[in-house]
């Protein structure tokens, strides 16, 4: 369900379409052999091609093509076996050739559909219009000199996938869910790292309002530089208010490009972009049409990993998890893999609980990622095994786990070293219980007199005497027998 905006003159609906720019994971750039690694010294990862030197020519990176196809397949989209690179012509200091090599009329990936998952558990289908490959621009740095801008071309020429959605989104929440879903799929596929703070995933938001009940789309504004999920939410909120005010006033929204200002928390018109809007696209004469082999595409399809939606479905079906638990576990591929490895051949409920609550909770506290976890999936599985075969109680297990987080030792080693193995030997437990009964004659009398609540007291005393190691089930059983006699 999208948001309905109550205006003074009636109800309005927000219509949002997104263009996501995702940097393709590859060692080298789209058309040159320079490295794509993040964070290098300025202008060190620049080839003569990237710098737009006279006479330099582009040569296409095969892995980038494969990544785009993989992504298209992961987004349930049509792969176009024939696609064309075109030049988008505009002037900007961080665009060295004066044109961006992109794809226009014939993108490598066509239409598709993905599902987004809303907080309330509902699922909504969002149309993908297209995915095309294009070059990234360099970086202009404005704050190093009072009257100059500095240009770093390290990023210039890195491969981007631009993923364009249909205007199917109806609220900021949906937009966020959509971006999160795309990011999750790309990460599963290994085609983009999805790090918005490093700029490897960025979004342009197209937004317009229309009166509820009308079909025709309103005039939209395109908001650029929306580089975090929070910014998406804020920018949509701001832009909705801005457009609503204009429309309610009987005015008309201008079709334009606007910039999200993260400090002022507002969008503002980018007049410079407006003037240069005639991009004069034409097929890049330095390149030929890209022709893919359908057999090659089929082979890529076969090597696709299980994607989040499939994985979630399987987790629910095979492990009997709730949709919520499954969603938490599949939100990252590494997490899902970790879980599966823990759950394999073990109690799924127990595995879920230990991964989602104990492990993720502990990592969160320590600000560690799953990759950095001091406890491996095998080790956590070992701990669960000790619980399952009654070697330790759930309570002791938590202590053992805390130790594992600190020491990275195997659970069995810790249990052995600290002598935490659960006592299930009925003789030993009987001896302890006999002691407890002998030490508390008054309470025994009261219990036998009808004070049932005192049973807990005897369990507690027994556990305390056994230093928590007595198997609580056995304790209960024997206590019951002895006290009731």
């Amino acid at each position: 369900m999208g948001d309905i905006i109550k205006g003074e003159t009636g109800d309005w609906e927000i219509v949002i379409g997104l263009e996501i720019h995702a940097q393709v994971i590859a060692k080298s750039k789209l058309f040159s052999g320079a490295s794509t690694e993040f964070g290098a010294m300025p202008n060190t990862q620049v080839s003569l091609v990237d710098a737009g030197m006279p006479g330099m020519l582009p040569v296409l990176n095969e892995v980038v093509v494969e990544q785009a196809v993989r992504t298209g397949l992961g987004l349930n989209s049509k792969i176009n076996l024939h696609s064309v690179f075109a030049r988008k012509n505009y002037f900007y200091p961080d665009l060295p050739t004066g044109y961006q090599i992109s794809q226009f009329e014939d993108p490598i990936v066509g239409e598709g559909i993905i599902e987004i998952d809303m907080e309330d558990g509902t699922v909504k289908e969002i149309g993908i219009t297209r995915l095309h490959l294009e070059q990234d621009a360099g970086k202009s740095i404005h704050d190093m000199h009072p009257s100059k801008s500095y240009i770093d071309l390290n990023r210039a020429g890195c491969a981007l996938m631009e993923i364009v959605s249909e205007p199917d989104l109806r609220s900021a929440e949906e937009a966020v869910a959509y971006i999160s879903k795309i990011r999750m799929i790309l990460r599963y596929l290994g085609t983009c790292d999805g790090n918005m703070d490093e700029g490897s995933m960025r979004a342009d938001v197209n937004i317009s309002l229309r009166r509820v009940g009308t079909e025709k789309l309103g005039i939209r504004a395109e908001i650029k530089n929306v580089n975090s999920l929070k910014a998406v939410q804020q920018a949509i909120a701001f832009e909705t208010r801005r457009q609503l005010a204009i429309l309610e006033d009987g005015g008309e929204v201008k079709q334009e490009t606007r910039l999200w200002d993260t400090t002022k928390m507002e969008t503002r018109s980018m007049r410079s972009k407006e003037e240069a809007h005639d991009y004069r696209y034409f097929p890049d004469p330095d390149l030929l049409p890209l022709e893919l082999d359908s057999e090659w595409v089929r082979q890529i399809k076969e090597t696709l990993p299980e994607l989040p939606d499939q994985k979630k479905e399987r987790f629910v079906k095979d492990f009997g998890l709730s949709v919520y638990d499954a969603s938490v576990l599949i939100s990252e591929r590494a997490r899902a893999d970790y879980f599966e490895s823990v759950a394999k051949g073990r109690d799924a409920k127990l595995a879920t609980n230990w991964v989602t609550n104990e492990l993720l909770g502990a990592l969160n506290k320590l600000s560690l990622t799953l990759d950095e976890s001091p406890v491996s999936a095998d080790q956590l599985g070992g701990l669960i095994d000790l619980i399952s075969d009654d070697s330790i109680s759930g309570k002791i297990a938590k202590d053992v786990f805390a130790d594992m987080i600190n020491s990275s030792k195997d659970a069995s080693v810790i249990v052995e070293e600290k002598g935490l193995k659960q006592v299930t030997d009925t003789g030993a437990i009987e001896a302890i219980i006999d002691e407890v009964i002998a030490e508390n004659p008054d309470n025994v009398e009261s219990y036998r007199g009808g004070k049932d609540r005192l049973f807990g007291f005897f369990v507690g005393q027994t556990m305390k005497k056994s230093q928590g190691k007595a198997n609580p089930v056995v304790v209960n059983e024997i206590l019951k027998k002895k006290l009731d006699n």
Binding site: A26, K27, S28, S32, G33, A34, S35, M41, P42, N43, T44, Q45, V46, S47, L48, V49, A51, V59, L60, N61, E62, V63, V64, V65, V84, F91, P93, S140, I141, H142, M144, H145, P146, S147, K148, S149, Y150, I151, D152, L153, L259, M270, S272, E275, A276, D278, R280, P283, P285, L287, L288, P289, L290, E291
Partner: protein, 93 residues
């Protein structure tokens, strides 16, 4: 083709053109456009555009880092010298 069009295209192409040159260009571009308009005589129904005469597949290169680490060469012809960056008049967004 009029002076307004010439001015618009000159801006698109980022070419400073004097008023006098603009007037000359109106005439010259009109005659060039007039000349190329003879193509409208040609029946091109069902003819596919030909962008390149090369009848081959687009070659692809391996994804290997083979270039870069040549900052000095990149910046060697820079109009405003700086050790690390290209430098331009401040860009105002």
């Amino acid at each position: 083709m009029d002076q307004k069009t010439v001015a618009r295209v000159a801006h698109l192409a980022r070419l400073e053109i004097s008023q006098e040159q603009q007037e000359t260009l109106v005439g010259q571009l009109s005659s060039i456009i007039g000349f190329v308009e003879q193509l409208s005589e040609v029946n091109t129904d069902n003819v596919k555009p030909l962008a390149s005469v090369v009848d081959a597949a687009l070659p692809l290169r391996k994804d290997e880092v083979t270039d870069g680490q040549k900052k000095e060469a990149i910046l060697a012809n820079s109009p405003e010298q700086n050790e690390d960056f290209f430098v331009v008049t401040k860009i105002v967004e």
